[in-house]
C-alpha cells in the first residue's frame, strides 16, 4: 500500500501529514526548514497521491515531491493511499493515519488547514486530529510487518494555513528559510506557472499563484515583525514556558 521514499520506520520529532504532494511545500516548508535548523528531525506523509491534480501525473508528482524532500532535508516522504478528492474519516483512513503516527512517534504533528478552498484540506484536518487521539488508545490494535505497534499520542497538533486565509494562532518566522522554500516549490514544475506547459490551467498554475504565496508569507511575517512567516492554528492553547522567547 505504501511507497516508501526513505526509511519510514524511523522516529521523528515532527511529522507532517498533508493531503496532496506540494501541500507541505506551499503551507509549511519554511517552518520545517527552521525546525530542522534547530536540530529537530522531520518526516512527511501524504494522504493521497494527488491523482486528481489538473496538471502532471502521480508519477511526475512523486518525482517532484522526492526532489523537494531532498531540498528540505526531510527524512522520508511517502503516501498513505487515500483517494484524492474524497478524503474523509472512515475507519480505514483513520487506521492508516494511526499506523503512521505510531510508526514515527512524533511529538508534534503539522497537518492541513482547518478549512480551505480545496475541501480535502478541511476533511484531512479532522481526520488527522481524530487519528492522533485514537493513536493514543492502546486498545486500538495495529501492526506493521507482523509486529504490534505501541500506542502513541503526539503532544501537539498544529494546522497550517494554505489557500484561504485563516486567522493564525501562532506564526513562525521563516525569513532565513524563504529562499530554500522557494527552491522546494520550484521542484513542482508540473503544478505551478510554466509558460511552456500546455496542460489546462489550474488555480495554482496561474502566474499569480507564487507571488500570492510570497504575499501570504509577508502578511504572516508582518504580524510578528518579520519579513516572511508561516501561520498555524492550534487545537488548544499552547503552553509557553519563556514569555520573552515570543516574537
Amino acid at each position: 500500500m505504501m511507497e516508501v521514499a526513505s526509511d519510514p520506520l524511523g522516529q521523528v520529532d515532527i511529522l507532517c501529514i498533508t493531503a496532496h504532494p506540494d501541500d507541505l511545500e506551499i503551507s509549511m516548508a519554511g517552518t520545517v526548514l527552521g525546525q530542522i535548523a534547530l536540530g529537530h528531525s522531520v518526516g512527511a506523509v501524504e494522504l493521497t497521491a494527488g491523482e486528481l491534480g489538473t496538471r502532471g501525473t502521480p508519477e511526475i508528482r512523486a518525482q517532484e515531491a522526492e526532489a523537494a524532500r531532498k531540498v528540505l532535508q526531510v527524512r522520508f516522504r511517502y503516501q498513505l493511499g487515500l483517494r484524492d478528492g474524497f478524503v474523509h474519516s472512515d475507519e480505514d483512513s483513520l487506521m492508516r493515519v494511526v499506523t503512521a503516527v505510531r510508526r514515527h512517534r512524533p511529538r508534534l504533528v503539522l497537518t492541513t488547514a482547518v478549512r480551505d478552498r480545496h475541501p480535502d484540506h478541511g476533511h484531512a484536518s479532522s481526520l488527522v486530529s481524530d487519528a492522533c487521539f485514537l493513536s493514543g488508545l492502546r486498545r486500538i490494535r495495529t501492526a506493521v510487518d507482523g509486529r504490534d505497534q505501541d500506542a502513541w499520542r503526539p503532544t501537539t497538533v498544529l494546522h497550517a494555513i494554505q489557500d484561504r486565509w485563516v486567522e493564525p494562532d501562532l506564526v513562525v518566522d521563516i525569513t532565513a528559510h524563504w529562499p530554500t522554500k522557494e527552491a522546494a516549490l520550484r521542484c513542482f514544475r508540473s503544478q505551478f506557472h510554466d509558460p511552456a506547459n500546455t496542460q489546462p490551467q489550474s488555480p495554482i498554475s496561474t502566474p499569480d499563484f507564487l507571488p500570492f504565496l510570497e504575499g501570504r508569507a509577508r502578511e504572516m511575517g508582518r504580524l510578528i515583525g518579520a519579513t516572511f512567516g508561516e501561520g498555524f492554528t492550534t487545537e488548544r492553547p499552547p503552553g509557553v514556558v519563556d514569555l520573552l522567547s515570543l516574537r
Copy 2:
C-alpha cells in the same frame, strides 16, 4: 481650522474619511481609482494632520497628500483638525465629521479599519460611524459660513483594512489600478522606506512595508480570482441587485 486643497463645498458620491494623511493611499486608493473610473466623484477628509508621525512634519505630509490627491484625481482633500494619537468620539469631534458629511452629501463613506495596529484607526471607525448616523438627524443643527446645513445620511459606510488583517466582507478588484496606487504611495516620500532618510525608523518606513502592502493586495485579490484587491468590512449586509455581477 481647515486647510482646503480644492473646492470643499462640492457634493461627491463617495467621501473618504480617514485618520491620517496616507491612510487613504495605503488602504483604499485602488478602490477610489476604480470608482472614479466608473464615473463616480470622490472627495477626502482626514481627521488629523498626522502630527505625531515619526517621520516628516505636518507641512511635508500636507504637500505629499496634495501630490497624491492629484495622482488619484480626488476632488478635494482637507483636514478636520482632530488630534493625532487621541482620536475619540467626543461631541466636538462628532460635530466636525457631521459637518463634513452634510457638506459633501456622499451616498457612500469609506473610512478606517474597525480595529488596527494604530489605535486611532479603530477609534476613528467608531467616530465616523456614529457621526454618519447623527448627520441624518435634522434636529442636530450645524452651519457653515452662517448657513444652516440640511440633514444627510449616507446609504453605506464601508471600513477599509489597513495594517492588521481583518476578514473582509467584500473585496474590490484593483488590478487595473495597482500601478497608480503605487504612484500615489510613492508621493509620501517622508513616510515609507528611503535609504537616504536619516530620521528614525517607523513600522511603515522599513524596506518590508511596501512589499507587505503588495502582499496584502495579492491576498485580497486571491479571494476573488484577481491579481490585486482591496477588502472592506460592512456595518450591515449589503443589498445586491444583480448576483451575476459579483466576482
Copy 3:
C-alpha cells in the same frame, strides 16, 4: 434515476440545488424571480423527493413543485434521488451533484442554509459546496448518455437562509416579487396550513408558518431599507465592481 420536468440539458446562469421540494420556494424564490427579471436563466434540482415529509406524498409534492416551477418560470426542475433525512457527502451523492453542475454549467449556484432546523439542510450545504469544487477537476470523469462531461466550476456558491436565522452576508431586495413568491408557496397545498387538511401537523403546516416567512422577509428587507428581502451567506467575500450599486 431522474425525473425530468423540462429540458434538463440546457445551460443556465443560475442553478438552485436544494434538499427538498419547497426549500427553493421558502428560501430563495424572490431572488430567483428577480434574477430572471434581470434576464438571467435559472434551473432547479432537488437532492431528494421529500419522501419523509409529514404531509403529502412524493407524487403530490412533485405536482406541487411543477406548479410552482411554472409560477417562477424556472426552466427545469428535477430530483437527484438522494434519500430524504439521510443526505450526506458520500461519493455517490457527490457525483450526482457533480453531474448536474456539469450539465447546466451555472456561473452561480444557490443552495441550502449552512445550518438549519432540518439537519438535511446543513448536510446538503456541505455536499453541494464540495461537489462544486470537485466538478472543476477534469480528472473526475463523468458521463451523461454515454458522453463525457467537461469540467465546470461555478464562480460563486451562495447559501440561502431558511428556518433558523443565520446572519446574512448579503441581501436581495425581493419587494417587487413578493406576491409571486407567495403564489409559488401556495402551490404547496399539502405542506402548509390548510384547515381542511386532516394529516398530522408539521412545523411548517401550522397557521404561524407563512406569517413567520413574511416576517423573515421583512426582517431581511429592513437591513437594506426594503420592504421584503432574502438573505444569503457566502463562502468567500464577494468581489463587488460598483460600490454605488449596493443598496
Copy 4:
C-alpha cells in the same frame, strides 16, 4: 431634572432602563406585560427625552410615553436627563443611573441592545452595565433628597434587541400580550406611520416599520415554538433551576 409620572421611590422587581421614549415599547413591552402578569412589579426610566427625534417634540413624546405607561401598567416612568444622540459613559451619566438603580433596587434590569442602528443604544448598553456594577460598591456615595442611598446590585442585566438583529440568548413568549404591546406602540402617534403626519419621514415612521416589528416578533417566537416572542442577550450564562420549564 426628573419629571416623575408616578411614585419614583418605590422598589420594583424589574427596572427598564432605555435610551429614548418608545425604546421600551419597541423592544420589551411584551416581556414587561408578561412579567407583570406573573406578579412582578416593573418601573421604567429613560436616559434621554428623545429630543433629537425627527418627529414630535419632547413634550408630545412625554405625553405619548405616559399613555403607553398606563397601557403597560408600569408603575412609574421618568427621564434621567442625558443628552439624546450623545449618550456615553462619563461620570455624571454613570452616577445618574447608579442613583436610579439604588432607588428602585430591582433584581432584574432590562436595558438597550448591545449594538444597534442607533448608536445611543450600544452606548447606553455599556453605560447601564457599568452602572449596575458600580451601584453595588458601597464606597460610591450617592444621596437622594439628602438621604444616603444603600449600595445595590441587580442579579441580572438583560439586553433587548431593537432594530438590527442580534442573536438572542433567551426568548420570552409574548403571544398572549401581543395585542397590548401593539396598543402601547400605537400611543406613540408622533413617531410611527401616520398618513396625516406631514413631518419628515424617519426610519421608524415608514409604513414598513410596524409590520417589520411584527415580523421580528414572529422571528423570535419561531425559535421557541410560539407565535410572538421578544429576545434578549445576557451578560453571563443564566442559572436555570428547572430545565423542563424551558420552552
Copy 5:
C-alpha cells in the same frame, strides 16, 4: 444488542444520551440529581460500552455504571452498541438513537459536548441532534418487539461540557448535589485515580483529574453565584417564562 439494567420501556422526562459509561457522571450528574429532586424522571443510554478505555474492561465498566446509576436514582441505563472510538452519523447509528428516543419519549435530552478532547463526544453530539429531529418524522418507521413506534421529538436538546472548556449558554446550580455527584464518580474505580491500580495511566486516571473536575464545577458555579455548577450549550435560544427565576 442491548443490555438492559432496568425497565427500558418506561417513559421519562429527561433522557441522557452519552458516548461512554462515566460521561454522564463527569458532565451532568449534578444536574440529573437536581432534576430528579424536582420530581422529574431520568433515564440514561450510552452509545458505546467504552470498550477502548485504557483501563478496566466493558464488564467492569458496566458494573461501575450500574452502581453509579443506583447512586443517581436514574431509572434505567443501557447501551446502544455503537463502536467506541468510531462514533459517527451513519444510518444504523441514527436509527438506534431514534428508537431509544421514541421508546422513552423524553421532553428533554441531555447529550455530549459539541466539541471535546475525545472526538467521539463531538461526533455523538451531532448524531444525537440529528436523531432527535428524525425521531419526529412519522415516515421514518421503527419497531420494538414487533410493535411500531410513534414519532416523537424532544422539545429541547442540551449539550453538556466535559473536558475541554466550552462557553456555556446556561448553568445549573449543583451545590446541593455535589457530594452525591462525587459518590457517583467514585463508583468508577477502574477509570479514575487509584494508587493501587497498575494499569496504564489515562488522561482521566491521573491524580489531577478529579480535582480538575471540582475546579470545573467551581468555575461554572462562579458564573451564577453558586459554589458548584454544571454548564450546557443550547441548539436554539431557550424560551424562559419567569425571568426572576433565573439565577
Copy 6:
C-alpha cells in the same frame, strides 16, 4: 502622586500594569514567579489604589500589596493615581501609563483582562494597549524629573484572565509556583475570606473565592497537561521559535 515601594526608575524585562492592588496576585502571580525563576526582572504598577474596594482601606491595601510584592520578588510596585471605578482612556490616564512604560522599558507588558466582571478591567485593558502604542511615538513628549523620556514600545502585550472566563490564547504552567502564589494571595487579608472580618461581604470575600481561583488554575492547567496554569490572551498571534518548546 506616586508612592514608590522600591526603585521605580529601573528597567525591567516585564511590567505588570493592573487596575487594582491584588489584580496581579489573582490573575498573573504564578506567571510572574515563573518568569523571575527564568531570570527575567519584573515590576508592577497599578492604575488605582483600589479605594472603592468594599473591604479594607487604601492604606491597608498598600501594606498588603507591599507584603505580596516581597513574596513575589517583584522589584517595585507603585500606583498611577487613576480613580478606582472610573478607569477610562482620557489623555491624562494615557500619559501616566506612557510615562510608566517609558520609565521601565519592558519588552513584555502583562495587563488586565479584555473583559471581566469588574468594568475597570476591560477599560484598563484598552487603556494600556493604546498607551503601549503611543509610548512608541517619539513626538509624544514626556518627562520625568525634568528629563525627557525616550520613546519605547513593548514587543508584546498580554492580557490576563481574572474573574469571568475568557478563552486563553496561551497558557503558562505555574504548578511549581502555586504555593507561592497562594502565599501572595494570603497577604491580602482584608480582601479575601476571613471569618473574623466583620466588614460587608464582597464577591471576592466569600469562602468560595479562593477555591474558585484554585479551580480556575486547574482548568487552565488541564489545557496544557499541567496541574496549575494561568491563561492569557494576545493582541496578535505570537511568533514562536521552537515549536517543540510548546507544552
